[in-house]
């Protein structure tokens, strides 16, 4: 291969003559979706000085490129996982990216969804444009930063790196949330900041414990040594601390007090990104830790308990919510509780269910937040909105049905999967979780359809005029995501099969270790 | 042709002539019921008169009343339903009495048992209620509302009684019930076997006949005879006919349930007249109960007695 040199120079290719060069090269390109947005984010301000137009274009371009690279890599490399050591430093010491199907899927989702909910795209209202022009470069930079960090979270193979990306994502999201500059947004951000910082401290403590116990932060290595060093209370304590730390972004129960305020005040697309995307990546991290490092029933139970509490508090609070974004925010807490419950189920079923419900929520909740862009404010104000925006209202009903889990939509099969998993687990806690899910679903159906019926009521004469239909771009995105949902619902069997393969791969600890350390390392002996 | 052969002599030989007897029974039974009913009406009026130290009406007074009413030269109708109501009131009872076995005649008792009879007797009431409704007089509607409430009151002990008897003899078939009672003389009569139920049944009978103290639904001085307020001429005459059937049905039903039915016409009629005389005698010494008091009374005492009776029957 002729191209080996520049690639080598750029990314410090870990040359190994036994490997297929093309495969390695393509594999290494996976770093680009992390690096390019990062670079673009830093370039944004200077570029904006030069040309606003180019600056506006930069973000979508980079993201499209990133998505294309990931897709290309995936197609080229195939289903097997691979790892990339950055800078040429070998695994235990250097920075490792691990890309299995799960990671690739989420990395791809990051690119695509950030693109779909790109703050600058198709924001219709003219009055906002002037103010928007001032803020646009900064906001775009933050969004790119978020994309980069999120991709990094999906791919990173060591805990330290994960922590760094996590903080990067936090910073980016603080900025994005208060990008509008309203007072309420500032306060919400502050609250978010406190909670996040506190969580980070705890997570750092957890990481420290891990390091003290094992002397490494590389996940593969941790996975190797975990059965010996991390069994027992110390390991669990570390997990608990990490859970709390990463749980902040994953919207797990006691750590998500920031969620309703932030989603209610942040721009709807940012909410869509945070609720749909970033939370999933945070939980992905937790799941990786759970699978690789903390393979103990107590750890799963911890997750389960938090999940149950999240489902219950989220859905019940949503039942009382009086405005649309807040309702979605609480609902999202509930759904992430469900994700946590799903991942706490043993074995492939759990991973399968968890991944499915995470993806499902990603699609549905992002779209709903997109619709909420113009529908923010009290629920009363939504009366008769279907008259002005029949398509948006129809999409809302579709997503609501899937969220509730009405067959034959995808949501149903996921819920069924979780329930079957819980029943097969069979412990009292599992059955409790089952009951909680059922209860929460009933509550969920009620509040979602309270909104739906409100949409379809005859409009109140003077209010209806003020209520603008969702922007065309948002509706378009919702259409696209709705179509995805329908397609998946129809092609439920292949989708489930694909996810099962993915889940098996994710759950295979040995595969992870073998991928990161192709040859057994000397020092291990 | 096929159908011709079916009517040939071979076929004729196979024809069962019992159906002729049945037709005869079906014609005779309502006729007898009507005549006996006239006698019962007369007896009731006579009892009332005697208790008030009056002479009372002459022998054929019930008949004269009916003839006079039908012979009225102007007949005030309030519409088709008004008329059909009366037709249903008479017709329902004409049908119902064929379900009541009398000595020598079983009629259709085997084709519909006790429950069918019970519900068949509601058809006349429904017809009457419809007719009264069409009269467009609120007095009549109030009367019907009270009558239906009264039915709700007395039917509860009534069905308890019916359950008890049917369960005791293990059948809903009146023919079977009577045969079972007659099998062992008086000792196997319902009244001996189930005295409590018989008592509850007597209570129910009082309500069923709408005699004092349970005649709130006619209440002449208050709602101008309620259902009958707009009934004149042959409309009222139809109701008089219906009353004959009603008395007969109630009396015969009670006799069939508790007094072993009729061995022969003499004892049968004697029992029927005695049974029907009891409510009338009681009636004359009572004033009138209000609707809710009536319901309360029926749901309390006869119901409790009846349930106690069932408890005995089922053990």
């Amino acid at each position: 291969m002729t191209l080996e040199l520049p690639v080598d120079l750029l990314f410090g290719l870990n040359l190994d003559l036994n490997l297929d060069l093309t495969r390695v090269m393509t594999a290494n390109a996976i770093v680009l979706p992390v690096v390019l947005p990062l670079l673009a984010a830093f370039l944004m301000q200077p570029l904006a000085q030069v040309s606003r137009f180019l600056a506006r274009l930069l973000g979508p371009l980079v993201l499209t490129l990133g998505a294309w690279i990931i897709l290309n890599t995936w197609l080229e490399v195939g289903p097997a996982p691979f790892s990339v050591a950055i800078g040429g430093f070998a695994a235990p010491l250097g920075i490792v990216f691990y890309a299995d199907q799960l990671a690739l899927l989420f990395a791809l989702a990051v690119q695509v969804f950030t693109l779909l909910f790109w703050p600058g795209l198709g924001a219709g209202a003219k009055s906002e444009v002037a103010a928007d022009r001032q803020r646009a470069p900064r906001r775009d930079a933050l969004a790119l930063l978020l994309a980069s960090a999120a991709t990094g979270l999906a791919l990173s193979g060591d805990l330290f790196n994960i922590f760094v990306f996590y903080e990067l994502a936090a910073v980016a999201s603080f900025g994005l949330v208060c990008a509008d500059g309203s007072g309420r947004a500032w306060i919400a951000t502050l609250r978010y900041l406190f909670i996040s910082a506190f969580g980070s401290v705890l997570a750092l403590v957890g990481i420290a414990i891990l390091y003290l116990q094992t002397g490494t932060l590389n996940l593969a290595q941790l996975a190797q040594v975990a059965p010996e060093t991390l069994q027992g209370p110390i390991g669990l304590a570390a997990f608990a601390l990490l859970l709390i730390g990463f749980g902040v972004k994953a919207e797990l129960f006691p750590l998500n007090a920031w969620v309703p305020e932030v989603y209610a005040t942040a721009p709807a697309r940012v909410s869509a990104l945070l609720a749909g995307l970033v939370s999933k990546l945070a939980i992905l991290v937790i799941v990786r830790l759970l699978i690789l490092v903390f393979q103990q029933p107590e750890a799963s139970q911890l997750l389960l308990v938090l999940g149950v509490l999240g489902v219950l508090t989220g859905e019940f609070s949503a039942w009382r919510a009086q405005d649309f974004p807040r309702l979605l925010a609480f609902s999202s807490i509930g759904q992430l509780g469900l994700v946590a419950i799903a991942f706490s189920i043993d074995g492939t079923t759990g991973i399968l269910a968890g991944t499915a419900v995470a993806l499902h929520h990603l699609i549905v909740k992002s779209a709903l937040f997109g619709l909420a862009n113009r529908w923010s404010g009290g629920l009363d104000a939504l009366t008769g909105a279907a008259k002005g925006a029949p398509r948006a209202a129809g999409l809302f009903v579709l997503f609501a049905l899937s969220l509730i889990g009405v067959p034959p939509l995808w949501g149903f099969w996921i819920k069924l999967l979780i329930m079957v998993g819980l029943v097969q687990g069979g412990s009292p806690l599992d059955l409790l979780a089952l009951g909680a899910i059922l209860l929460a679903t009933a509550v969920e159906a009620h509040y979602l359809f309270r909104v739906a019926l409100r949409l379809y009521q005859p409009p109140v004469p003077d209010r209806a005029l003020r209520l603008a239909p969702p922007a065309r771009w948002d509706t378009g995105v919702a259409y696209l995501l709705g179509a995805c949902l329908v397609v998946i619902s129809v092609a439920i069997t292949p989708t489930t099969e694909a996810l099962r393969v993915l889940a098996q791969q994710t759950g295979d600890v040995l595969l992870y270790i073998d991928t990161v350390f192709p040859q057994p390392l000397a020092y291990k002996e | 042709m096929d159908w011709l052969s079916a009517v040939s002599l071979d076929g004729l030989a196979a024809v069962d002539f019992r159906w002729l007897g049945l037709v005869l029974e079906l014609i005779l039974m309502p006729l007898i019921a009507f005549v006996v009913g006239l006698g019962l009406v007369l007896m009731l009026r006579k009892i009332a008169a005697r208790l008030q130290r009056r002479v009372g009406p002459p022998l054929l007074q019930p008949l004269w009343d009916i003839i006079k009413l039908h012979a009225k030269e102007t007949q005030t109708s309030h519409g088709l339903i008004h008329e059909i109501g009366i037709v249903m009131a008479i017709g329902g009872y004409v049908a119902a009495v064929t379900l009541l076995p009398v000595p020598g005649m079983n009629g259709l008792a085997a084709q519909g048992g006790l429950i069918a009879l019970l519900y068949m007797t509601m058809i006349p009431s429904l017809g009457l209620a419809l007719g009264v409704g069409q009269c467009a007089n609120p007095n009549g509607s109030i009367g019907i509302s009270r009558a239906l409430t009264a039915m709700l009151a007395y039917d509860v002990p009534m069905v308890i009684v019916i359950f008890g008897v049917a369960f005791h003899f293990g059948s809903l078939n009146l023919v079977y019930l009577i045969a079972a009672q007659q099998a062992g003389g008086i000792a196997t009569w319902g009244i001996v076997q189930m005295p409590l139920l018989a008592l509850a049944g007597l209570f129910a009978l009082q309500g069923m006949l709408g005699k004092q103290p349970f005649e709130i639904y006619v209440a002449p001085a208050e709602i101008a005879t309620g259902p009958m307020v707009e009934m004149g001429g042959k409309f009222l005459g139809g109701l008089f006919v219906m009353q004959c059937f009603q008395l007969y049905t109630a009396g015969v039903l009670y006799v069939a349930l508790f007094l072993g039915g009729g061995e022969n016409w003499l004892t049968f009629l004697f029992k029927v007249f005695v049974v029907t005389a009891i409510p009338m005698t009681i009636a004359m010494v009572f004033p009138r109960y209000r609707t809710e008091d009536m319901v309360r009374l029926f749901w309390k005492w006869p119901t409790m007695i009846g349930l106690l009776g069932i408890a005995f029957v089922m053990n």
Binding site: - | V55, K68, K72, E73, T76, G79, V229, G232
Partner: protein, 259 residues
């Protein structure tokens, strides 16, 4: 005590034609027997509606209860005009009351009989000079029997009733037909008392037509006055008007006329 023969007769002498409608020919050999039976039944079963406005009412309870017991004669009280054969008016009739009495009378089913008890019904009695009392009852409705007295004793009442029974049995008690035949006369008297806009919800003229009781003096100036200010009450006949069918019918009618 008033004797049967002294019953005041309004208008012309009445022809005796009981049970046989004019123009109908009875071919049934048992017709006469049947008519006898009906007349007998009518005379032996009298339901009585008492319109007790004055002091005369106190003499009725003894006539009904154990001492004299009307039920022996087949007479018993009833409460609504539809059920009654006899309208018993005991005592003075004020103008206001008279309206109700007339309505009640018109609502009764024929054959129907009116008995005026006490002098007040005959000539106003002690209220002769009252501006608010109707003096002669038979000006406003045909009266079959007056039982005079102030007040007549129960024996007199019973005797009067027996007289009525006798009249019915022999077919002479048909004053009620006079109300139909000479409705204009009675209506005129009523109008003079109550004013020109007097009307009752009953439709006497239509009834007279329906039952072949229409007479030469049924209509007249007074009925014309009645019809002038009153839209006649149509009987609410049952009708089946299915819009689609009616539309089709009317269309075909139009089509017919076009051709």
């Amino acid at each position: 005590m008033t004797h049967i023969d002294q019953v005041p007769t309004p208008g012309a002498p009445r022809p005796v034609e009981i049970g046989v409608k004019p123009g109908t020919k009875r071919t049934n050999p048992f017709a006469r027997v049947f008519d006898e039976l009906v007349r007998f039944a009518q005379s032996r079963s009298l339901f009585m509606l008492h319109y007790c406005t004055g002091c005369g009412a106190v003499e009725l309870p003894p006539a009904m209860t154990s001492r004299f017991d009307m039920e022996r004669l087949g007479i018993q009280p009833m409460v609504s005009p539809r059920q009654a054969d006899i309208l018993l008016i005991t005592g003075y009739v004020s103008v206001k009351t008279l309206k109700r009495v007339i309505l009640t009378y018109e609502q009764m089913n024929s054959p129907k009989y009116v008995i005026g008890i006490c002098s007040c019904t005959v000539n106003g009695g002690m209220y002769w000079q009252s501006y608010a009392t109707a003096k002669k009852l038979n000006d406003y409705m045909p009266v079959d029997i007056y039982i005079a007295g102030c007040m007549p004793r129960p024996e007199a009442v019973i005797e009067g009733l027996r007289g009525l029974i006798e009249n019915i049995r022999t077919g002479r008690a048909d004053a009620w037909k006079d109300y139909y035949r000479r409705y204009d006369h009675y209506l005129g008297n009523q109008q003079r008392l109550f004013g020109a806009d007097w009307q009752t919800p009953t439709d006497v003229i239509a009834e007279a037509r329906h039952y072949d009781l229409f007479g030469p003096a049924t209509l007249g100036a007074h009925t014309a006055l009645l019809e002038q200010h009153q839209r006649p009450l149509e009987a609410l006949e049952m009708r089946i008007e299915i819009p689609e069918l009616m539309r089709r019918r009317s269309r075909s009618d139009q089509g017919g006329t076009a051709q």
